[in-house]
């Protein structure tokens, strides 16, 4: 099943690369499946042994590879495995306070990163209008979904603004790694945040004006040009997730 026209793509995809990636739509999941996957993965991180979250990582990385994001998958596994390796090396040594901080952060990375991989997959591949349509299929009120979608829309804008401000700061010789920043890190944060806050409040206002003048409202029922619905890939992912959960419950 191939759809030759992509009706939209995810906001965060804009962060990744300048070039638009060609997507293999045969393996595009329904937004509801993605939500279930994310929930299952997050549940596993906090309750189950590491093996289960690794099982979730496996499915997320296969899906990411199918989307053509091999760069992310490679970086992820490199960082994750090296964090795991160092953690295994140092965890039995007695290394004092600073060592403990490093150890704790390594442990955190080791445990949280699987969830991050799954979330990265979900966020970068979900399209705005598909998400809205799936939410309304699940009978979730517009009052909940519209703020959510505004939030998602906001990320790339903040990123864009922050980059412009970073440029302006570099021109003035204010850098992260400089004597001035080390002397006064609070001032650095302030220089960075004040213009960002001013410009994103303004842009947020203009964005919501753009949305309401185009008729986005809580009363009218939206339609969606994208085809949404479950396909065989969705069933495979659902079955896999449920199998993992059942296995975990049975074992414990």
């Amino acid at each position: 099943m191939t759809i030759n026209k992509t009706w939209g793509f995810s906001p965060l995809a804009a962060l990744g690369s300048k070039e638009q990636q060609s997507r293999n739509l045969a393996f595009a999941l329904d937004a509801r499946t993605k939500l279930f996957l994310a929930l299952a993965a997050n549940g596993m991180i906090f309750t189950a042994p590491l093996v289960y979250s690794l099982l979730m990582v496996a499915v997320a990385s296969i899906l990411l590879l199918l989307e053509g994001k091999w760069k992310f998958v490679c970086t992820f596994f490199f960082v994750y495995l090296s964090a795991g390796f160092f953690f295994g090396q140092v965890k039995n040594l007695d290394i004092g306070t600073s060592g403990t901080i490093i150890l704790a952060s390594l442990f955190l990375m080791y445990r949280i990163m699987p969830a991050c991989a799954v979330l990265y997959y979900v966020i970068t591949t979900t399209k705005v209008n598909e998400f809205l349509a799936c939410m309304s299929r699940m009978h979730i009120l517009n009052k909940v979904t519209i703020p959510l979608i505004v939030m998602i829309r906001f990320f790339p804008t903040v990123y864009d603004e922050a980059r412009a401000i970073g440029n302006a700061m570099r021109m003035r010789g204010i850098r992260l790694f400089s004597l001035r920043t080390i002397k006064n890190p609070v001032a650095f944060l302030e220089y960075r945040l004040v213009p960002l806050l001013v410009s994103i409040t303004k842009i947020g206002d203009e964005l919501s004006i753009a949305a309401v003048t185009r008729g986005l409202s809580t009363e009218t029922k939206r339609t969606c040009v994208a085809d949404i619905g479950f396909r065989w890939v969705d069933f495979v992912v659902w079955a896999y997730c449920i199998a993992v959960i059942v296995m975990f419950l049975y074992r414990s």
């Binding site: 939209g8 705005v128 401000i165 213009p195 309401v212 185009r214 339609t223």
Partner: protein, 509 residues
């Protein structure tokens, strides 16, 4: 659909600027194209917000009187209902998209109105053909140029098929060629019998479509003209009201008298040529030759891919102490050149060279480059060593001394721009690059910016100004560089070549 505004009085509750409407009456007939003109802050944008329902539904304030669309009062309609009859296009192309890609954006309005998906696809296909957008489909909003964004905005509003179009300074960020496209869009709407209301300073591109020009002053319609009536009064009258020129071909004659004394304002010299701030070392890549006649930058290249260089310039020569205009269509690589010159893009070698030679960029959105709590701090920040007396001198040169303790964000747009210039001067730069300093300004504000720039040049700084504004170039620049596809195509002094410049910019060469 008729629009009638009856005895409207309005003031914003939470705003300090007094953009107040006082007992305003305006009738716009069905199928008419009306331009609302006037100086900044006169209330013309407020009128456009009354028509598209943002007042009273989005902005709060005290309002008297009625706005009728057809026979319905906007106060009794919801914003969603109003959006079925009124389509709005705004000034800032960056923030008027709710979706992230072009296809979704075109369908967005229709989806919100709950149309049938098949019909939406049909409508989107129609507007794509009508507006020639085939090459823009399936692209990320973040990779489009300002002009392309504005076209998508117009098309997606058009897809829902409203009866009334309200445009708020749509040409502010566009180059002349794209403005030409915008004009075609407006005339297409007019031919289809739609009512079009445009808030605008630039009148020339609407010459063939506009039925009536309403001049707003102090919250009231002060004058109403047809274009012929306004033209009969002459360009001097129009510019005295803050209007931009109405006919680009006549621009040369109009500006001739003002232009020919570029170095007459010399009173600012000693404020800016602060000898303490001069860089004593000369970088290898930048050689000041011919006894400081011109500054030469070499090896300006940049590319994302080896095969498609975005910027490919061996040598850029800027005459010292002069204002040079950098023109070229959207996407010609002008902004990239500015960023490479200022060390914000490019290889580490280019960045190091840029850092040494002291170039400073005044961005189009100056809000990005004001960080501190007071204007004085802003100027002191980049200064090494910090010298308050010198900073105050710089501020005085920019007419900002009385604002030294104010918060930069509390100033007006023009003042913010001058603060940014001040911070550039204090960081000891010799070359200042401006990215579209006059976009969206009325005639008076444009002259003020022009005066600041002339003063800066007279003090010995070298200025490069990226601009799409022929009026501004004729007013203040001494030479012109034109870029195309990342290369410098031509460079010539302005005097004697004015007609060539105008023809080039309007695309009639």
């Amino acid at each position: 659909m008729n629009i009638s505004l009856k005895n409207i009085s309005f003031s914003y509750t939470d705003s300090l600027d007094d953009a107040i409407l006082k007992n305003l009456n305006l009738e716009i007939r069905s199928g008419e194209c009306v331009v609302l003109a006037g100086e900044s802050g006169c209330g013309k944008t407020t009128i456009s917000k009354l028509i598209n329902g943002l007042i009273p539904h989005y902005h709060s304030g005290t309002m008297d009187g009625d706005v009728l669309l057809g026979d319905k009062n906007t106060a009794d309609m919801t914003l969603a209902e109003i959006s079925r009859v009124v389509g709005s296009v705004f000034q800032n192309p960056r923030s008027q998209f709710f979706n992230i890609d072009t296809d979704c954006e075109l369908a967005f309005g229709c989806e919100n109105l709950g149309m049938d998906p098949e019909e939406i696809k049909q409508r989107v296909e129609n507007v794509v053909q009508e507006f020639h957008l085939e090459h823009l489909l399936g692209r990320s909003i973040f990779n489009l140029s300002g002009g392309e964004k504005q076209k998508i905005a117009c098309a997606s509003v058009s897809a829902t098929g409203p009866e009334i179009f309200v445009l708020d300074e749509p040409s502010a960020n566009l180059d002349l060629k794209t403005i030409e496209d915008l004009k075609e869009i407006v005339s297409r709407w007019k031919k289809a019998g739609k009512t079009v209301v445009i808030v605008e300073h630039r009148l020339y591109y609407l010459r063939d479509v506009v039925d009536r020009i309403c001049y707003v002053k102090d919250g009231q319609i002060a004058y109403e003209w047809t274009l012929a009536e306004l033209e009969a009064k002459g360009p001097a009258y129009a510019s005295s009201l803050g209007l931009r020129c109405m006919n680009l071909e006549m621009l040369n004659a109009a500006c001739h008298s003002v232009n020919r004394h570029p170095r007459s304002e010399t009173e600012g010299i000693h404020y800016f040529s602060c000898s303490q701030l001069r860089r004593d070392h000369q970088p290898r890549d930048v050689i000041a030759s011919k006894a400081k006649q011109s500054i030469i930058f070499s090896n300006l290249t940049f590319s994302y891919h080896h095969k498609h260089p975005i910027l490919d310039i061996d040598c850029l020569e800027l005459p010292c102490g002069q204002i040079t205009a950098l023109i070229g269509h959207n996407g010609a690589g002008k902004s990239t050149l500015a960023q490479v010159l200022c060390g914000l893009q490019g290889s580490w070698r280019q960045k190091r060279a840029a850092r040494k030679c002291g170039t400073y960029l005044i961005m189009q959105d100056v809000n990005h480059q004001l960080f501190t709590e007071s204007v004085l701090d802003e100027v002191l920040l980049g200064m090494k060593p910090q010298d308050e007396k010198l900073a105050l001198e710089i501020l005085e040169g920019l007419n900002l001394k009385q604002y030294a303790d104010n918060h930069p964000m509390a100033l007006s747009g023009g003042q913010k721009q001058r603060v940014a210039i001040g911070s550039g001067i204090s960081s000891g730069c010799d070359v200042v690059v401006f990215d579209e300093p006059t976009s969206g300004l009325d005639y008076r504000q444009m002259l003020a910016v022009s005066a600041t720039l002339k003063k800066l040049a007279a003090s010995g700084k070298t200025l490069l100004v990226i601009t799409h504004d022929p009026e501004f170039i004729l007013n203040s620049c001494q030479s012109v560089i034109r870029m195309e596809h990342g290369k410098i195509v031509e460079q010539y002094p302005l005097s004697g070549n004015e007609n060539q410049l105008i023809k080039m910019m309007t695309g009639k060469l």
